[in-house]
């Protein structure tokens, strides 16, 4: 469904590339995590897919055709929520639809559905400054889902939240996306979050390349059992941890 072909990105005159020829294929309905240390280019890759950055080389294909630049089939959820402080919860969720030119009554009706979905129906008239971080990110998710994208791009969406809220939202994301047939590209630096949410985990390292691709074969839905107690979880976790450690101690590029 989503294909990254030899994606390259160099910022300005910098000698070191942020992405040095990244290749990735994501199947329809899959949730793939990009996992790696900060500065490894995972956010850069996501922003290129989302159309917010221009790649220096390579291509992004969605359903077989090139898709550089933003489009209605892709929606983003941002790490710092990026909600409009001057809009109510409802108007924030409706923004994507408004940008598409939908009439006010229709878009507010849809926004209401999505507020319901993320459990914020009673906060429709609140402003982001009146809501907690967790509630704000639920709004961010609702805003993205409201335009019914094929591809959801999430940039460390739970990175700015406290640990408890974070787990809560991870569970909610699973529930919300389970029957929507969404393809999700998810950037994180938490190994546990990646294991819990993903069908596949793609390990990245500086400077911007893929070093490993794990299939997370824990049965779904993972909310139905204690997934952390399974031997497969510890195995995956140790393996990913070791590989990241090895990359950290080795000078980049000599691997």
């Amino acid at each position: 469904m989503l294909v990254l072909e030899n994606l390259q990105k160099t910022y300005g005159q910098s000698a070191k590339p942020a992405l040095a020829g990244m290749n990735l294929e994501v199947k329809h309905g899959e949730l793939v995590s990009l996992l790696g240390p900060s500065g490894c280019g995972k956010t850069t890759a996501l922003r290129i897919v989302g159309g917010l950055l221009e790649p220096s080389g390579g291509n992004v294909l969605v359903d077989g055709h090139a898709s550089l630049g933003p489009s209605r089939e892709k929606a983003m959820v941002f790490q710092l929520f990026n909600l409009f402080p001057w809009r109510t919860a409802e108007a924030n969720v409706a923004f994507g639809l408004e940008a598409q030119g939908m009439r006010k009554r229709e878009r507010l009706a849809i926004a209401k559905d999505y507020l319901n979905l993320v459990g914020l129906a009673d906060k429709a008239q609140s402003y982001p400054s009146q809501l907690s971080g967790g509630q704000n990110q639920r709004l961010g998710l609702a805003r993205a889902l409201a335009i019914e994208p094929k591809l959801l791009l999430m940039d460390e969406p739970f990175g700015a939240l406290d640990a408890l809220t974070r787990e809560h939202l991870q569970v909610m994301l699973q529930d919300v996306c389970a029957d929507r047939n969404l393809t999700i590209l998810f950037v994180t630096h938490s190994i546990d979050e990646a294991i819990f949410l993903s069908d596949r985990i793609v390990l990245m390292t500086t400077p911007g390349r893929v070093i490993a691709d794990y299939v997370v074969d824990l049965p779904q839905p993972r909310t139905s059992y204690d997934w952390r107690a399974t031997p497969r979880y510890s195995e995956l976790r140790t393996s990913i941890w070791d590989q990241l450690q090895a990359e950290q101690t080795q000078p980049a590029g000599s691997a």
Binding site: P70, L80, F84, F95, A99, Q100
Partner: protein, 575 residues
């Protein structure tokens, strides 16, 4: 060791320092500590003192009782009709300033070529004493309604443009990313993101523009009009009717205060709901990666528009490429400058030399006055002397006052009524009275410059003190620092960026004060030169001091901005 050196008292020496401020009747517990009581008492005391002294000097001070009786026999017959005249020209001029200034500011922030082309002129006109242009305008428009409206626009619009520009260029780029990610059209991004995102700056601009516009309205009436409040002020002074003079001042003051409250209320109404908490911090901005704009896909192109769109895109691409070249912006600026001078030359060919001097004759006048007979340098030095003297006095008085107002609640309460009133008032209305007190000379100029500049220092310093995190003061107290030590080691350094910002602002304002005082009353300095030349219809010569004034304004702005950054490198550059 360090704490002893820095003057903190040893723990046991002054344990009850914390209670010093709250002791006695002025503490928050006693009735004298109530802000309302302190304000009322202060106003009553000043009014009583004024009555006591003023009744002995009816022709130079007047007194509250004389003002009340003056109001009785002039308010409806003279003051209100004049006020209506002022309101008409001011209202129209102010409306034009807002309706034109806000779009221009946004266009400057969003369209690079517009910014490159007009930014130098906007900054020059923003920092320039507009009064210097009034004699020129008088020759063009004559003494008329159009002149007064144009004056209000010139005085007010640049504050609105500059503030809107600042706001629109500081909208959080992360929010713009959302607009792009959701494929919002440029128009939608403008109305849904840029405009609301810069609303607070726009309102700040409107507030400042209102004050400047008021000054413009009154000053033109004083200088060149037979109608309005400014004219009335001069009439009453000449007739030695000081009671009535103060009635006019008070009416103007009340109007200004009401309007600034209304503007503030409108701002609250627009922005308060979503501003309970501070929502964006600097660290948020720092985390965002800065990338170039990705090409965006437009929505459905309407039929036939494709060719136009393609041509536009080519032009846009050409401009972008041009502006990216280091020499590009300069090319644009030179072209714009040539266009302005060319248009000026063409226009002056059509009208009489007594109305608009051609650029060529202005150039030769500059040569004549600066190089051949050196006539410009004496007045230039006079003006600079007044500038530095007035600025130094304003800073020396304003900083201690601002520190005290920010630190001590009771002092703020008893001084705040006057500071607020005098700050809101277009202070040019005092000019006729000050001339009576001080004559036409240096003393008058100095007093006027201080009056116009001191509030920038006081208010910035006060804000600086109030912006200090109380945790710092708590940290000082936990080491049992005395009030003096806290002032010296926490309050003053903490407020320094604001003090420097205030002093910088005061410098620009002082320069305006210098020119205003010179044009209005004295025959000295560059302002006086303009006045003399315009009275003799030496139109080309008149432009020479105007050009020098503009050049000094720009110089002041450039130097003071650079110094502010150097003096307080830890502060953000944009106070």
């Amino acid at each position: 060791m360090v704490s002893i050196k820095s003057g903190a008292t040893p723990p046991r020496a002054k344990a009850p320092a914390r209670t010093v401020r709250t002791a006695g009747l002025t503490g928050p517990q006693g009735w004298l500590g109530r802000p309302v009581v302190q304000r009322v008492l202060s106003v009553l005391a000043v009014l009583g003192l004024w009555q006591l002294i003023g009744s002995h000097y009816p022709y130079s001070m007047s007194s509250p009782r004389a003002i009340v009786s003056g109001a009785g026999n002039s308010l409806f017959s003279q003051v209100f009709p004049s006020f209506g005249q002022t309101l008409a020209s001011f209202g129209l001029g102010f409306a034009i300033s807002v309706l034109v200034g806000v779009p221009v500011g946004i266009a400057m922030a969003r369209i690079r070529v517009i910014r490159v082309a007009i930014e130098p002129y906007v900054l020059m006109l923003y920092s320039m004493p507009m009064l210097a242009l009034i004699p020129v305008l008088v020759i063009v428009f004559g003494i008329s309604f159009e002149l007064r409206v144009t004056g209000v626009v010139l005085f007010g619009i640049f504050a609105i443009i500059v503030n809107t520009f600042t706001g629109a260029s500081r909208v959080d780029p992360a929010l713009e990313d959302v607009g792009r990610a959701f494929v919002a059209s440029p128009w939608k991004r403008l109305t849904a993101i840029i405009f609301p995102g810069s609303l607070r700056y726009i309102f700040a601009g409107i507030r400042i523009g209102f004050g400047h516009g008021m000054i413009g309205a009154v000053v033109i009436e004083i200088e060149a009009s037979a109608v309005g409040m400014g004219n009335l002020l001069t009439q009453y002074i000449q007739a030695l009717q000081l009671g009535k003079f103060f009635v006019v001042v008070i009416v103007l003051g009340i109007f200004s205060i009401i309007c600034s409250l209304l503007i503030r209320a409108a701002e609250r109404w627009c922005t308060e709901p979503w501003q309970r908490k501070h929502h964006l911090s600097a660290s948020w901005q720092a985390r965002l990666d800065v990338g170039r704009l990705a090409p965006r896909r437009a929505g459905q192109p309407w039929p036939g528009a494709r060719a136009a769109r393609r041509a536009l895109a080519t032009a846009q691409r050409g401009l972008t490429a041009l502006l990216r070249n280091p020499a590009g912006p300069w090319l644009v600026r030179v072209v714009v400058l040539c266009l302005i001078i060319g248009a000026w030359q063409l226009e002056s060919d059509h009208v009489s030399q007594a109305v608009l001097a051609a650029p060529s004759s202005v150039a030769s006048a500059v040569y004549q006055l600066a190089v051949v007979n050196h006539q410009i340098w004496g007045p230039l030095l006079d003006s600079l002397e007044l500038l530095f003297a007035g600025w130094a006095v304003a800073v020396a008085l304003g900083i201690p006052l601002g520190l005290a107002m920010g630190r001590f609640r009771w002092f703020e309460n008893i001084t705040d009524p006057y500071v607020s009133f005098l700050y809101a008032l277009p202070h040019v209305c005092f000019v006729p009275l000050m001339v009576v007190w001080l004559g036409f000379g240096f003393k008058f100029g100095l007093a006027y410059v201080v009056l116009s500049a001191i509030f920038a220092v006081i208010i910035n310093t006060m804000q600086g003190v109030k912006s200090i995190d109380p945790e710092y003061i708590a940290a000082g107290r936990s080491f049992c620092a005395s009030e003096r030590t806290i002032m010296r080691t926490i309050i003053i350094p903490g407020a320094t960026p604001f003090m420097v910002a205030g002093a910088r602002l005061a410098f620009s304002v002082s320069w305006i004060g210098v020119i205003v005082s010179e044009v209005l009353s004295s025959q000295t300095g560059l302002g006086g030169m303009i006045d003399t030349f315009s009275n003799n219809y030496q139109v080309a010569d008149m432009f020479v001091p105007v050009l020098f004034i503009a050049a000094i304004s720009v110089l002041i702005l450039q130097i003071s901005t650079r110094y502010q950054q150097r003096l307080t490198p830890w502060a953000s550059t944009s106070l």
